[in-house]
């Protein structure tokens, strides 16, 4: 596909890399020549230096013939204008990143009347993820398929917990219809087989229906009480969306923001929420605000290091759920396993969102990606395909399919029914199939075959 990307920031760079690896032809429009040069040197793309909303630049980049136009410059207005021009020039699909809460309220109107196919808001997506983690306190992270019927949850194998030192055969017998579809162990992620034995500190990704997962939590000792209160440190855009979402869940909130104007604005927007002005990295101050009494602590300041420190402090107090916003994920690799539980990276969330959208358009051979989630620090993809009759996998029992390594057919959904497939089951046309894999270029169900 021909893709034009305007804006070579963090997200733009990720998109360039991943989409070019998948074989798309990419043209990047970036204002700063140095930055453009760097990205072009590292990735197999072309580019031009200039304003992404400029008509001439867009024509030069070939927008009129492109399949997808993606605008991810730092300014919302530039993104919106660029997307509109691209649409008028003839781009088939347009994607714009819009972060300002004032525009976010009328997302649908803007999208429909201006013809922008997808408007994404990284902070809103991050807030959604956080609220999901808070709603499902058992898991470190949660992804949902098929309108929430199937979830993939991340849990940590606790030392001396019931899961430690069990093989997956035993696991299957013990917990029934849930499946371990990926294991992350010491910076390495793999798709387990039946012989895999779980070890302490493994992070495992378990998938199943909500009912089965609830049973799994209970039997394995992960059952947690509901989260009823949250202390949010940092009153930026993510907090703005999060406050609204959590207030609807009737969660008692307190927000700490160091900047007076920001705190004032938040208190104007949410008069019923307790907004505290102060330094959230000051432990004495956090103590005064009774951080130890909160079920969950969400650190959302603009500085990764501060977020990590706040979360470590909260974790040391035994807070049930600690959620950390980290933008530069390489920091986590240095820190290793330091006991941070749930980590949210807005940049990554929106990159996967865009890639999911691109992939779902990329179907040429009969079936397409309906949903895509990247789990385990982006190492593993879980994809939901809608299988059409032309596909090669139709009608063949799973055990006879010659599939690639590191791949797992987790579920088949047939007419709203969830099938936990065995080797004898076969995929039929019209089924939805969930595949978990460490390969990252699948955009068709046939890609699972060798």
């Amino acid at each position: 596909m021909n893709i034009v990307i305007a804006g070579g920031g963090k997200v733009g760079e990720v998109l360039c890399r991943e989409l070019s690896i998948e074989g798309n032809d990419i043209v990047l429009i970036e204002k700063k020549p140095d930055r453009l040069e760097r990205i072009i040197n590292k990735n197999d793309i072309t580019g031009l230096a200039g304003n992404g909303a400029n008509y001439d630049n867009l024509v030069e980049a070939g927008v009129q013939n492109c399949d997808i136009f993606i605008a991810v410059t730092p300014e919302d207005e530039v993104n919106i204008i660029a997307a509109i021009i691209a649409k008028k020039l003839g781009a088939a699909y347009t994607i714009a990143r819009v972060r300002n809460p004032e525009y976010a309220g009328h997302m649908n109107f803007v999208r429909e009347s201006l013809g922008i196919s997808l408007m994404i808001n990284p902070e809103m997506e991050a807030a959604k993820d956080i609220s999901k983690v808070i709603r499902f306190p058992e898991a470190l992270s949660v992804e949902q398929f098929v309108n929430g019927k199937v979830s993939i949850v991340e849990v940590e194998v606790k030392s001396r917990g019931r899961l430690a030192d069990t093989s997956l055969w035993q696991f299957r017998q013990e917990y029934g219809d849930v499946l371990v579809c990926a294991v992350a162990r010491n910076n390495e992620t793999f798709i387990p087989s039946g012989d895999t034995v779980l070890r302490e500190n493994d992070r495992i990704f378990v998938t199943g229906s909500r009912k089965d997962l609830t049973r799994f939590y209970r039997k394995s000792g992960y059952k947690e009480e509901k989260i009823r209160s949250a202390l949010i440190v940092g009153g930026g855009r993510v907090a703005y969306y999060l406050i609204r979402m959590l207030s609807e869940l009737k969660i008692e909130l307190k927000v700490i923001e160091i900047n007076h104007e920001k705190a004032q604005r938040l208190s104007e927007a949410f008069p019923r929420t307790v907004i505290i002005e102060g330094d959230g990295t000051d432990q004495e101050f956090l103590k005064e605000e009774r951080v130890d009494q909160y079920d969950s602590v969400v650190s959302l300041t603009g500085v990764d290091e501060e977020n990590i420190l706040i979360s470590l402090y909260a974790a040391s107090l035994g807070t049930k759920k600690v959620i950390t916003k980290v933008s530069r994920t390489d920091l986590l690799r240095i820190l290793g396993n330091v006991g941070l539980q749930s980590i949210i990276t807005p940049k990554r969330i929106i990159a996967s969102e865009i890639i999911r959208f691109v992939r779902s358009l990329g179907n040429t051979r009969g079936s397409n990606v309906e949903a895509l989630f990247r789990i385990a620090d982006n190492e593993v993809e879980a994809l939901q395909f809608h299988v059409k009759s032309e596909s090669k996998v139709v009608g063949v029992p799973l055990k006879r399919l010659e599939t690639k390594q590191n791949l797992l057919v987790a579920y088949i959904i047939r007419r709203h029914k969830l099938i936990f497939p065995s080797g004898d089951d076969s995929i039929r046309a019209g089924d939805r199939v969930i595949v978990v894999t460490t390969h990252k270029t699948f955009d068709d169900i046939d890609d699972i075959l060798k």
């Binding site: 209160s229 008692e252 004495e284 103590k287 005064e288 009774r290």
Partner: protein
């Protein structure tokens, strides 16, 4: 809120209280009173220390103490001590009703001086002593006393002191909080001792001198004779007490500055100037008014000096029944009731500094209205006031008016006329004591129903602690774990 911390501090206060209540026991022994009096003091001491010890045994000082905890500690402490302080009266049978005794003790600790007793002279000496002694403790603050005597005080205790010491802004005298508290108490007790001495020189019996000095020091106003100070009929006593009351209505920080040889700062102090000007103006106006209505100049000056100094410092001693004075004089006294003494003194009321700041804010507003583009800043004590202070002063007045109105409404159910109802609330919330009309200086609060007595007791505590701590106590959100 950190309830364990609150419980811990309160239990320590109860232990201290258990020791203090032994003091009237000695008076009782000295006067060879009936055994029942001694048992009631001893019983109160034993009960409060027992509760104090049992509460503090399982709780250590855990976690932090912050503004919320400070406010709750102070307000609970005052209600609690008013209750425990009432026990000797009830146990000895001298004030049999617990509600009456609670009112009397709350009135004592808050240095109001309002009484439910129609005949004070029936009380035995130890009870009279205890009553006046509560003025002495309450004047400078129960918790300030605790801070002064407790060996170990954390830096966080500043929140307690902030909540208890009256006035819009709080400043420590020296860098150490416990030293500040000690210095305050030393100055306070020294001044009390000086008053006692002066009264003794004037020929008053020791017992009378001590009790009247306690009343003047705390700006309380409990006397030991019916008719307050009038029965002594002595110009000397009135002059000494008049000046003593005025002295105790001055910010104690000024005395400390005087001691540390900053004489010039004291006399250029703006609040002090306001205070003295208000007093002087009131005396002159009332004297002129009284002279105009058939009194001699000297009698008029004598009565007006004593009454003004008693009312402006919210003490409540009386020599003349000012209820019989002309309306003009009575209204001036009513205004003085609201003004009160200086911040950081033992007096009640709105405080001179707040009045001054409000007056200046009003003038600034006037300037702003006529010159919309002009930048106007309000100066007080030679410093530009930040908007936060101005806001808190103005808002204090708003809350004060609201609270006043609500209590006035509740009190009006039992009062025959407006001036009685209005002055009841004014006299209690400003910690003065006697009001006007049926609660004037020659009568008492005994005609109120028990319900209103409890309400007025809380009004007095509210006035002493400047309203907010008690309001905070009744707001449900503060009691939440995470607040």
């Amino acid at each position: 809120m950190n309830k364990r911390m609150v419980r811990y501090v309160l239990s320590r206060i109860l232990q201290i209280f258990g020791v203090l209540v032994l003091l009237p026991l000695f008076v009782s022994l000295l006067y060879q009173e009936p055994l029942r009096n001694q048992v009631s003091f001893l019983g109160t001491a034993a009960l409060s220390s027992a509760i104090g010890f049992s509460l503090s045994r399982n709780s250590v000082s855990v976690g932090g103490m912050y503004a919320k905890e400070g406010f709750v500690i102070v307000s609970v402490c005052w209600v609690m001590l008013s209750f425990f302080g009432a026990l000797p009266f009830v146990l000895s049978g001298e004030i049999p009703s617990i509600v009456d005794a609670f009112f009397e003790t709350a009135s004592g600790f808050t240095t109001t001086g309002a009484s439910i007793l129609n005949d004070v002279e029936v009380l035995s000496p130890s009870m009279l002593f205890w009553r006046s002694f509560t003025h002495l403790i309450g004047g400078m603050g129960v918790l300030v006393f605790a801070l002064a005597v407790l060996p170990k005080t954390e830096s966080e205790s500043v929140h307690i002191m902030k909540a208890e010491v009256p006035g819009p802004v709080f400043g420590k005298l020296v860098s150490k909080l416990s030293s500040s508290a000690r210095i305050l108490y030393v100055i306070y007790l020294a001044m009390t001792a000086a008053t006692i001495l002066l009264l003794l020189i004037g020929g008053l019996p020791l017992f009378d001198s001590v009790l009247l000095s306690f009343g003047a020091a705390g700006t309380g106003g409990f006397a030991l004779r019916n008719g307050s100070i009038a029965p002594y009929d002595s110009l000397y006593v009135e002059t000494v007490l008049g000046f003593a009351m005025l002295a105790f209505g001055v910010n104690f920080n000024l005395y400390f500055m005087l001691l540390s040889k900053h004489v010039k700062e004291v006399f250029t102090n703006e609040e002090l100037r306001w205070y003295l000007s208000i007093v002087a103006a009131a005396i002159l106006l009332i004297t002129a008014n009284l002279v105009g209505t058939s009194q001699g100049l000297w009698t008029a000056l004598r009565d007006s000096f004593f009454t003004v100094s008693s009312v402006v410092t919210t003490t409540g001693y009386s020599t003349a029944d000012f209820g019989q004075w002309p309306l003009f004089s009575r209204l001036i006294l009513l205004v003085l009731m609201f003004v009160g003494g200086m911040a950081g003194s033992t007096s009640g009321g709105i405080k001179v500094s707040r009045i001054a700041i409000m007056a200046k804010t009003a003038v600034a507003e006037l300037k702003r209205t006529s010159y919309p583009n002009r930048v106007v800043s309000v100066h007080f004590e030679e410093k530009a006031l930040d908007t936060k202070t101005i806001r808190s002063v103005v808002n204090y007045l708003v809350v004060y008016v609201f609270v006043f109105a609500v209590i006035l409404l509740l009190v009006s159910l039992e009062m025959p006329d407006f001036i009685s109802a209005f002055s009841t609330v004014a006299a209690t919330i400003n910690n003065i004591g006697p009001g006007m009309g049926v609660v004037g200086p020659l009568s008492s609060f005994s005609l109120y129903s028990p319900l209103n007595k409890v309400l007025l007791s809380f009004t007095m505590i509210m006035g002493r602690l400047e309203i907010f701590p008690i309001l905070i106590l009744f707001s449900p959100s503060i009691w939440r774990r995470r607040a």
